[in-house]
Symmetry: C2
Subunit: 382 residues, 2 copies
């Protein structure tokens, strides 16, 4: 089923692509206790599912990512965020694998999210949308996998928030997946990361155009607040070295300081661009809900304060390949190391690799031989 | 002269303390080219100036600091931010030294700043206030020192933005100072730091109560925007380790997640408190002007791209004690190291010490024996 959706400051209609309605008979119970049924999940697939349905790979997207991992984005027109990884004869070879990439619930690209229409009121959910967690996102993905009749995924792969989903797959459905590749992620969201998220949420909710979450009804958009949230987050996605290398203290189209409050430095113009292009493709309420879901993610807390308890019930066949990036300060290699130790303590087969990087957290979105070779080797040598 | 001033969301009147009007005859030319005359500088002094006026120490405050280094703050009622360092028989001993602490120009505690009344219009300057730089702040301080008839300061001491002022003192007035103690600072503001400042400015300017800088006239205050700016900045003042130690992922007065957008974690409540207490004592336009001054600070650029050129004309008697803190990621020890090398390359007498810390950038505001002993030793063994 292909549907149209409308979105953003201009509320333009665009083609979402494939959407399926799930939990039609039995509602899905969320972590908060709320139940949802007959909810939409938007997805893209690449390649062909083989006869015994053993070649499926699930791709889990990051915080503000979407299902267009290897296809053009319907709003920006840009190539998919993992186009360099996914495709015929690429690292995740769609001649061989059937790749499924779904928009998380809480998102804004056609899946059940706060901008969707509540059939009971015929208005967007806004803040009447239920709170969601990473586990809830994974449970919705599982229903999609069931729809395809897949008994066991060859692999679940994801970076950052997508990595949290990959980890949760191994815990919630240990019999349903062979390989787990979490990258640039952690077993819990650190206090510093929670703090950055909260600043972003406060910026959105401080924008009077947010209208207590009802901006759709007012035909407004909390653009400024959402842009500030994105700018803050974007700094955390890069490293100091990356910013220094990319921009240094170069001025933007000028020879000297402006001595006013226009952007003087290239790094400022870049941030503005990041902030204001983001609001064209992302929903402010989705940002609130998804950041909260990520902040709640804490495998230690979920398992009585002991991380290794999380992995006690894993199937002996499951294998992990944990990837971290040397200059990622949002999810530093030290957290991947702790995860590796916890997995190893449970006797789980785990490979752990830290890739030397200079692009910070965003390194998982940037083409590199190290990243491609690591994934390719792990996927194909099993 | 003691004057009253009014300020903040409630526009309460309070006693500023000592204020002097400077550049009465000859205007002060700013870096931007603008000239200012008969402008106020608010200050506090501790101890007594000796007969030959050789025992004066100038304290330079940080971004959002003020002149109340060792006296109660007139709005918050809290002790001075360096009360643990300055006083009778303390590290900076006011039985021995005459300590001068002035509010920087651009500030909001009585010195020439955007909230002061423009005598030409009888309204607050707002954005008609001229752009200022770190050099301009130092030139204004120099006029205050001249007022006291001091030929040579025993020392100039400052942390963070105050450290930039201390460095600038050595460059602008090398004959007028014996000892320079810059701490938790750098020779230039890094691209990452510029980016964080720009996010803060955008948050303020996005607040409709900012009124294009004319909020005083409207009796409004861009509280939400300024609070978001402060929250963002505050994260950078601490370290990941500090946040983990102080708060971890502890919840605030609850046993489980709220599943709404109230603060769940202690770290969130703490940030809210920091943000909203800040707006009680600081002016939003001052924040814009001072952050811009800090972003402009770049001794490399000022000296043809070669840092050591900045220190070529230093008096041979001048001595530096550079202090950095091990877990300060805003002004990391690596930048102090680069400064040390540049000073040493010019044959300048420089001691450089990195103090092991767990409180991040804010370590220079936190009492520790290492900090006290370093300063005491340097001040008294000359």
């Amino acid at each position: 089923m292909k549907v149209k959706s409308s979105f953003g400051p201009q509320y333009k209609e665009f083609e979402i692509g494939d959407v399926i309605f799930l939990a039609k008979e039995k509602p899905l119970k969320l972590t908060s206790g709320a139940e949802i049924k007959n909810f939409p999940l938007a997805y893209q697939t690449y390649g062909t599912l083989n006869a015994d349905k053993s070649n499926a790979i699930l791709i889990c997207h990051a915080l503000t990512g979407d299902q267009y991992a290897a296809s053009k984005h319907p709003i920006t027109g840009k190539d998919g965020w993992w186009s360099f990884l996914i495709g015929p004869n690429k690292t995740i070879d769609t001649e061989k694998f059937f790749v499924i990439s779904s928009n998380i619930i809480g998102g804004c690209m056609g899946s059940f999210g706060p901008k969707e229409i509540d059939p009971e009121t015929n208005q967007p959910y806004g803040l009447s949308f239920p709170a969601i967690t990473i586990s809830d996102m994974v449970k919705a993905q599982n229903l999609l996998i069931e729809h395809f009749g897949i008994q066991k995924l060859h692999a679940v792969i994801g970076g950052s928030t997508g990595g949290m989903q990959a980890l949760s797959w191994s815990i919630l459905y240990p019999q349903k997946v062979k390989l787990i590749i979490p990258m640039a992620t952690s077993y819990r969201h650190s206090p510093q990361n929670v703090a950055f998220h909260e600043v972003g949420r406060q910026a959105i909710m401080a924008d009077p155009n947010w209208c207590e979450g009802k901006y759709f009804l007012e035909k407004k958009c909390p653009e400024k607040g959402l842009a500030v949230a994105r700018m803050t987050a974007h700094i955390t996605y890069l490293s100091e070295v990356a910013l220094q290398k990319k921009f240094g203290r170069e001025l933007q189209n000028k020879n000297d300081f402006s001595f006013n409050f226009d952007p003087d430095f290239q790094v400022e113009s870049y941030l503005h661009h990041q902030g204001y292009s983001f609001v064209q493709r992302f929903d402010a309420n989705s940002y609130l809900y998804i950041t909260k879901a990520v902040d709640y993610f804490d495998l230690e807390k979920d398992f009585s304060g002991k991380l290794s308890n999380a992995f006690n019930n894993l199937s002996p066949e499951i294998k992990f390949c944990l990837i971290s990036f040397s200059d990622d300060w949002l999810f530093p290699p030290s957290e991947a190391k702790k995860l590796t130790h916890a997995l190893a303590a449970c006797g789980v087969n785990v490979s752990s690799i830290t890739i030397e990087s200079t692009a910070g957290h965003d390194s998982f979105l940037i083409e590199s031989n190290a990243l491609k070779n690591t994934i390719k080797g792990f996927l194909n040598n099993q």
